[in-house]
């Protein structure tokens, strides 16, 4: 049996040519084509071995066994000292067990396990969120009487990032939705000759629901993700641990300023959203429904009670609190890798949008039952 790489005669095996990574698959094929007892052959000849690297050495060890290659200096003294050292080193490395523990399960077992894990994870997540809420509220109560620890600078910085910088996008988005709602209302109400009620439709929907809901969803996408990524990278870099070991409280330093900033920001943005939603409606009303701006405002003043505005606004702090808490909590859950930062950022956006819509639905039910 003879190939470019090995030459096998009865009782003698000659290793030839370049045993390097570049020829790995050919070498493997050549070894596989040898008869099974070739590895135990009496005489091995390395004289025509032109080049060898760690990959080739690994194959040779596989062929001849780690013990034999480890003693290479005894049976191939003519091989250069450097190659002997390499072969001995690779043989030594491969004489330890290389195979990691196999993990094999049947597929239904794995599927059941995954289902269980996910249900448990969901339950844990809710528990953690409640625990975290308690922790934040307790920390807040503790520093309430120490105005020196309120971190005004941090709060203002977060208000600028998450609130002020978001004004244009919130205003633009609600303006456009306001226009769309007015169009929809006009189309449906025209059949009843009641286009004038478009004003009520826009006002009700924006004061009670859309102003706060759109602002909250935008902030959930924009700010919850930012919070998670910021805290998550700090966690991955052990910065949070560094704070703790210095006796500083990460909740007080990192979470409270963010929560406070959101509590201030979201109601303000909600107000911006309501105004520009109404403006969008007013624009459509005056341009295509022949309802003058003065008439629009007059109807608003006469028909729409201030309770609607207050009901809508009352939801803003609740949403803000939930969004900020989820954003921060997911950040703390990050485990040391870029992958993990990504996963938790996604999770924080999904969770906070979900919670905002869920709470909004519950609030709508509650307000309806109360007849507000």
């Amino acid at each position: 049996m003879s190939t470019q790489w090995v030459d096998y005669q009865e009782g003698e095996l000659a290793i030839e040519g370049e045993w390097t990574l570049a020829h790995y698959s050919q070498l493997k094929a050549a070894i596989a084509s040898l008869p099974a007892q070739a590895g135990q052959v009496h005489e091995v000849n390395l004289e025509n071995l032109r080049a060898i690297d760690t990959a080739g050495a690994a194959l040779l060890v596989e062929l001849l066994g780690a013990e034999r290659v480890g003693d290479v200096h005894a049976w191939a003294p003519s091989l250069s000292a450097e190659r002997q050292a390499l072969l001995a080193r690779v043989a030594q490395a491969m004489s330890m067990s290389l195979a990691p523990k196999p993990v094999s399960e049947s597929w239904w077992h794995a599927m059941l396990a995954m289902l269980g894990q996910q249900v448990e994870a969901l339950w844990h997540q809710q528990l953690q969120l409640m625990g975290f809420t308690g922790l934040v509220v307790a920390t807040f109560a503790r520093i309430l009487w120490h105005p020196r620890r309120w971190r005004i600078t941090a709060i203002v910085a977060h208000i600028q990032q998450s609130g002020f910088n978001a004004v244009p996008i919130v205003a633009l988005l609600t303006f456009m939705v306001g226009a769309v709602v007015a169009f929809l209302g006009a189309t449906v109400l025209r059949n009843f000759g009641a286009t004038i009620y478009t004003i009520d439709l826009v006002a009700f929907s924006f004061l009670r629901e859309f102003g706060v809901l759109l602002a909250a969803i935008l902030l959930a996408g924009r700010t919850a993700s930012a919070f998670t990524a910021q805290l998550g990278s700090m966690k991955a870099n052990e910065e949070i641990d560094a704070l703790r070991t210095q006796g500083l409280d990460p909740i007080e330093l990192l979470v409270l300023p963010r929560v406070m900033a959101m509590l201030i920001t979201l109601p303000l943005l909600t107000f911006v959203g309501m105004l520009s939603g109404l403006a969008g409606g007013a624009m459509v009303a005056s341009l295509s429904l022949d309802i003058a701006l003065s008439q629009f405002i007059g109807t608003l003043e006469r028909d729409i009670a201030v309770t609607h505005f207050l009901l809508g606004l009352s939801k803003a702090p609740v949403f803000a609190f939930v969004i900020a808490l989820i954003g921060c909590l997911e950040g703390f859950k990050v485990k040391g890798s870029a992958q993990s930062v990504g996963e938790h950022t996604t999770s924080s956006v999904v969770q906070s949008i979900f919670m905002v819509i869920l709470l909004d639905a519950l609030a709508a039910l509650f307000f309806m039952e109360m007849g507000w």
Binding site: T20, L21, Y24, L86, A93, S337, Q339
Partner: protein, 272 residues
Amino acid sequence: MSDRQTKHKTADQEPVISVRGLVNRFGDNVVHDNLNLDVLPGEILGIVGGSGSGKSVLLRSIVGLKRPDEGRVEVFGQALDSLDSQQRSQMERRFGVLFQRGALFSSLNLQENIALPLIEHARLSRSDAEYLARVKLSLVGLPASAALQSPESLSGGMVKRAALARALALDPDVLFLDEPTAGLDPISAAAFDELLVTLRDALRFSVFLVTHDLDTLYSSCDRVAVISQKRVLAAGTLDEIAATQDDWVQAYFHGPRGRAAQQAASTHHLQE
């Protein structure tokens, strides 16, 4: 050690890497000013210099991660930025780089980290590549159980070793190591030095070794280059460097640690 130096007396050979008139700036901060350096074939070149003296930036300029502001960097006689992307990728295959903080891919486990270049460049099948990856992990002294661990669950020293295994994956022609033994215990560091010399002797690659570890300098480097005052202050054998009249060099090699490492190296040498 001295016989190895004579064995690798390669001054008349073409350098593998040649850096000429290199200037690097970050804004107003000039890191390198007219820096010249050669790395010769088959040598282990130790790079020393104070923290922040620009060793990592030099490494990044050579492997093409930072474009020099002025000057020329040639690797195997070619400037990286003169190559098209295909040739450049071919060239980069011949590098193995161990970054200062490991830079293992955090979404892959250890054996996948090392198998990735084997699959992408050497076109091995996944199972072959992962098998070879485990051989390399064992070669750098990591236990088999580590193969399936993810990088974030490793200690700093284990990260360094896994990163070395990845740098060695393609059996490179030039190995760049940025402080490989920082964070290793002395025993592992000594094993690291020995492994490096064994592999270099057998595979004849060149090594660009940034290190603060005086033991590594004495036990494995053929030449040393000192980076100071924004350029290579001196380059040569350890004895030549140690004789250089410069306050920083004197303090470095003749301070208490320098003397201890030198003594250890010479007694070790006598025993051989």
